[in-house]
């Protein structure tokens, strides 16, 4: 995926991408039929959204006759992986500060010897626990 970071997608942009990833047709009127009508959005709005997604590097655009046909440039998995990488890097750089609380901070990596020591400590505690119970 060409952008260094995954671009932010709004609600409508995500809906359009999900439609295309699901194999939906990429002409503006087809996308409008599939998701625009339900949301009471005009064809122009769908057209603008497709254009924006193309400018963000997420869609390919081919001209067929007078119409533009859009298709996804990245797969759903690739996009999700890029988003996840961005989340990881944001946490590592300490930028996010606080919007999320991770069970184990991504940046933390216990060394193998220390990990073994802690696992032995836990095992010892569990044995003592079981002895008390029996």
């Amino acid at each position: 995926m060409s952008p260094t970071r995954a671009p932010f997608l709004g609600d409508l942009e995500l809906a359009v991408m999900n439609h295309l990833w699901a194999g939906g047709k990429g002409e503006a009127k087809d996308v409008h039929r599939a998701i625009g009508r339900r949301r009471r959005i005009t064809l122009n709005t769908i057209g603008s959204t497709l254009k924006r997604l193309f400018e963000k590097g997420l869609l390919r655009r081919d001209k067929v006759s007078h119409a533009h046909i859009y298709s996804a440039r990245v797969t759903r998995t690739e996009f999700h992986q890029q988003v996840l990488r961005d989340v990881v890097h944001t946490v590592m750089d300490g930028e996010s500060g606080a919007m999320l609380a991770a069970f184990v901070a991504v940046a933390e990596q216990v060394g193998p010897k220390e990990l073994k020591r802690l696992e032995n400590l836990v095992a010892k505690r569990l044995r003592a626990h079981n002895k008390e119970d029996s």
Binding site: H80, V88, T90, G97, A98, M99, A101, A102, G111
Partner: protein
């Protein structure tokens, strides 16, 4: 009236600076005592310490108006009669000649700008990370069996995100790496973050702690984060009925990070948090916990101290602001 507002703001700034400067020396000494408190108690104490310069400075500034306010109720109680000429009067009835001095306004506006710029940076970072994680959350599907949002990723992670209506996100990699028992401990830990509204408090404290000097701010915020993690570990231990199970889950997640199947490159940043948390969970250390008796005692002592301090604070503010604007 404008002059009174200016004096009030200057007093707030001066007292905030005094409290902040005091904590630079005091905090390293207090840290070891604070570490003996239970995680929940410790997190609360640290939050108040983080907000102390801003909130404490404001309270002291308001306290300075108490003698003048008392004169409004008891007119015979004129505390200003022994002031000499030219002394700044910090009250609403005796307005001084140097009220509204330019220097005063420059200091107030300068400090205000600094605060707005710093707070904006904090909020922009929050907003960015919020949008980022919301993007991740959009790719997740809710699993009613587990009761959390599942992200389609091989990486092993669990996180709680969001200030309003926080959500717990788990990766499929994590659900594959952990047994149901350990997964329950992880989910209980993340639920505890949701219930405690840790993200909301982090945002509030992130802004209010700006009145601290950077070195103290970094230390306190780091300690708060650690205390919150430990508090959630204890809550998870209580939910699953076994604190050692939470310790096992922590180690299992660490172990899974080393498994190439579960992705996420190792990022060597130090692992002190996990080591301390595991050791704390497997030990049966006694810690000081909060009780209503402590609250009552603190409130009584606080009220007495405030009454005693009102007049000295009033005169201290007059002296300090007088030095600044003259």
């Amino acid at each position: 009236m404008l002059g009174v507002v200016q004096m009030g703001l200057l007093a707030w700034l001066l007292f905030a600076a005094l409290v902040s400067a005091t904590l630079v020396t005091l905090y390293p000494l207090l840290r070891s005592r604070i570490a003996t408190l239970s995680p929940e108690f410790r997190a609360t104490v640290l939050r108040w310490l983080a907000m102390l310069p801003a909130v404490g400075g404001l309270c002291l500034a308001l306290l300075c108006f108490a003698p003048a306010a008392a004169r409004g109720i008891f007119p015979d109680l004129d505390h200003c009669t022994y002031h000499g000429d030219g002394h700044l009067h910090f009250c609403m009835t005796h307005l001084s000649d140097n009220m509204g001095a330019m220097v005063g306004w420059l200091v107030v506006v300068g400090a205000g700008l600094f605060f707005v710029v710093s707070a904006s940076q904090v909020l922009i970072r929050f907003r960015y990370s919020h949008r980022l994680v919301q993007q991740l959350a959009c790719t997740a599907s809710f699993d009613s069996k587990i009761g959390a949002w599942l992200v389609d990723s091989n990486a092993a992670f669990a996180m709680t995100t969001g200030v309003v209506g926080p959500k717990t996100l788990l990766s499929r990699g994590l659900t594959r790496a952990l047994s149901p028992r350990l997964l329950a401990a992880v989910i209980a830990h993340e639920r505890a973050h949701e219930i405690r509204n840790d993200s909301f408090w982090k945002l509030v404290i992130g802004v209010l702690s700006l009145a601290h000097l950077p070195v103290t701010r970094r230390a306190i915020l780091g300690d708060i984060e650690f205390a919150c993690e430990q508090a959630c570990d204890e809550e998870a231990g209580a939910q699953v009925g076994d604190r050692v199970c939470v310790a096992e889950a922590l180690l299992a997640v660490q172990r899974s990070r080393r498994d190439p199947r579960f992705g996420l490159a190792a990022l060597s940043f130090g692992a002190q948090g996990v080591v301390c948390r595991v050791e704390s969970l497997v030990s049966s250390r006694n810690t000081v916990t909060w009780s209503p008796r402590i609250t009552r005692r603190l409130l009584c002592v606080g009220a007495l101290v405030l009454c005693a301090l009102a007049d000295p604070m009033h005169h201290l503010a007059e002296t300090l602001i007088g030095l600044l604007v003259s």
